[in-house]
């Protein structure tokens, strides 16, 4: 079990600032509150997922398949 992020609000403000700096003039001031809420939700989700135990045998399902005989 891993602890959730210690301060997700701090992360969110950093990420919002990063997005605004990376994409200047794309995010209108009136849209910031909603985007901040979306980022907060992402942080909350990540924290929730980290509360569930995984071990080394828990592999993800991935689509990759090696091509047999060189394709």
């Amino acid at each position: 079990m891993t602890e959730p992020l210690p301060d997700p609000n701090f992360q969110v403000e950093q990420l919002l600032a990063l997005l605004k700096a990376t994409f200047p003039d794309r995010i209108r001031p009136e849209d910031e509150a909603d985007l901040r809420a979306r980022l907060q939700s992402s942080a909350d989700r990540a924290a929730e997922l980290r509360c569930h135990r995984l071990d080394f045998t828990d592999e993800p399902d991935v689509v990759f398949r090696a091509i047999p005989d060189g394709g």
């Binding site: 990420l15 995010i27 209108r28 989700r45 997922l49 828990d58 993800p60 689509v63 398949r65």
Partner: protein
């Protein structure tokens, strides 16, 4: 021209074709006229595929004359959500920036329906980019908000709004929709039609707009569960162009009339539902009790909403990374779709991979839980449709409230079918959903079909044209 072709199930139209009461070209002209004339009233139509339809219908007719009968769909017109490539016509994905986009090939599902003799009469409206950019209200496509045939002041649901409206209004006998997270079930419930979300891997996604590679599904929407079974049989099967497809034969057979089923009822699934939705669900359970053994089923306490959101946002962020970073996202219709996707660009890889790893556990648990049942039931949606000017957040309970059945099913890639089960506020339809373990479409369709034999909600149609 006879008006009684609208609102007829596939078997009845097929019977009329075989008996010589109607020719495929005549049927096609009828639905081309009806879709072209009435589709715009519901913002359901993107492109009428007239030339292709008449050509396919003529071929179907010639084949029948020559004794080549390709089955129940032979000569039956249909519409396809405009996320699906069809050679010769634009494939707009419902988004202004892609209005001129064309592919010179058919999506596998379109090709398979052509091979089954079906006739494509129109590309149908979708919420822009399958609703994947985070829209919060119906006006989120260059075609305008999807309008509900039961009352055009209300939404038709999303993102397969065109298929939902077109089938409900009798503008096409059936349609193809897509679902990543709710996009077949929602418009089916809101419009009062039957819509099937197949198991992930049952139907090839080749030629469909990708939104989330591990969540996207393509499925039929029709008047009845039987219609959905007939169409699924035609479009299912492995496809080298889509490596996630699975070689599991699917053959739709009507269940024995006196068959009894074992059905799970999702515990707490009607909590937070509108009173009429809960009332109709209870009434449906009473009908089911006549021919099913009902048992409560409790979903495992896993973060299904968090899994679905994390996977969807990470994959959609990758699919549309160039579109978002180029700034073209600003050309979308819904104001919120122009900035919300920026959040997708910063989902950490470790969070995405953690979600995929947890998903594997969740899939096992859910399949084990559902395995004893022919179907597991819940209300398709907790509310009826809202107004076309109404923000979803003003009437839909947040996804985090209540039992996360929709997220669970989609994360696990499980099949589900919504069929109408009554009417709620404003006289709008409500639905009941039958879900099952992976690749159990035959069983859930069987229960839904048996339910429809004992009810007449699927025989109610809006007063259209």
């Amino acid at each position: 021209m006879a008006a009684e072709f609208a609102f007829q199930p596939i078997r009845e139209l097929a019977r009329r074709i075989r008996s010589g009461k109607v020719r495929p070209t005549e049927l096609t002209e009828y639905f081309l006229d009806r879709l072209g004339r009435l589709g715009p009233a519901y913002n359901a139509l993107v492109t009428l595929t007239r030339e292709r339809a008449l050509r396919e219908a003529a071929e179907a007719e010639a084949d029948l004359r020559a004794g080549r009968d390709r089955g129940l769909l032979h000569g039956i017109p249909y519409g396809a959500k405009d996320l699906l490539a069809a050679a010769g016509y634009p494939t707009t994905w419902g988004a202004g920036p892609f209005r001129e986009q064309r592919f010179d090939y058919d999506a596998t599902v379109i090709r398979r329906l052509r091979e089954a003799g079906a006739v494509l009469v129109g590309k149908l409206a979708t919420v822009e980019l399958a609703g994947g950019m985070g829209y919060t209200q119906p006006n989120a496509a260059f075609t305008g908000p999807g309008k509900n045939p039961w009352n055009p002041a209300f939404w038709s649901g999303g993102s397969s709004n065109g298929p939902g409206s077109a089938v409900a209004a009798g503008l096409v006998p059936f349609a193809l929709g897509t679902e990543t997270w709710g996009s077949i079930i929602t418009p089916s419930a809101f419009c009062g039609v039957s819509g099937l979300r197949p198991t992930f891997g049952r139907v090839s996604r080749f030629g469909a707009m990708p939104l989330s590679w591990s969540l996207d599904k393509i499925g039929p929407m029709g008047l009845t569960a039987d219609d959905c079974g007939i169409v699924l049989e035609a479009i299912a099967g492995p496809d080298p162009a889509d490596p996630t497809t699975v070689d599991r034969p699917f053959s739709w057979e009507l269940p024995e009339p006196d068959r009894r089923f074992r059905v799970g009822v999702v515990k707490g699934a009607a909590e937070n539902a509108q009173a009429e939705v809960a009332r109709n669900f209870e009434a449906s359970l009473r009908v089911l009790a006549e021919f099913c053994t009902l048992e409560d089923v409790e979903l495992p306490g896993l973060p299904f909403n968090e899994l679905a959101s994390t996977i969807l946002f990470a994959e959609a962020g990758s699919v549309f990374e160039d579109f978002i970073t180029s700034g073209r996202v600003a050309e979308l219709t819904a104001p919120e779709d122009r900035y919300r996707p920026y959040a997708y660009l910063i989902v950490p890889a470790k969070d995405y991979l953690r979600a995929l790893r947890l998903r594997k556990k969740a899939v096992r648990l859910l399949n084990d839980l559902f395995a004893p049942y022919d179907a597991v039931v819940s209300p398709s949606r907790l509310t009826v449709a809202g107004g076309i000017d109404q923000d979803f957040r003003t009437y839909m309970p947040p996804r985090t409230a209540g039992v996360p059945i929709s997220a669970a099913e989609n994360v696990a890639g499980l099949p589900g079918i919504s069929v109408p089960n009554g009417f709620g506020q404003h006289g709008l339809p409500t639905g009941i959903q039958f879900t099952g373990v992976a690749f159990s479409e035959g069983r859930i369709l069987g229960v839904a079909h048996a339910y429809q034999l004992r009810t007449d909600w699927h025989l109610h149609h809006p007063p259209v044209g």
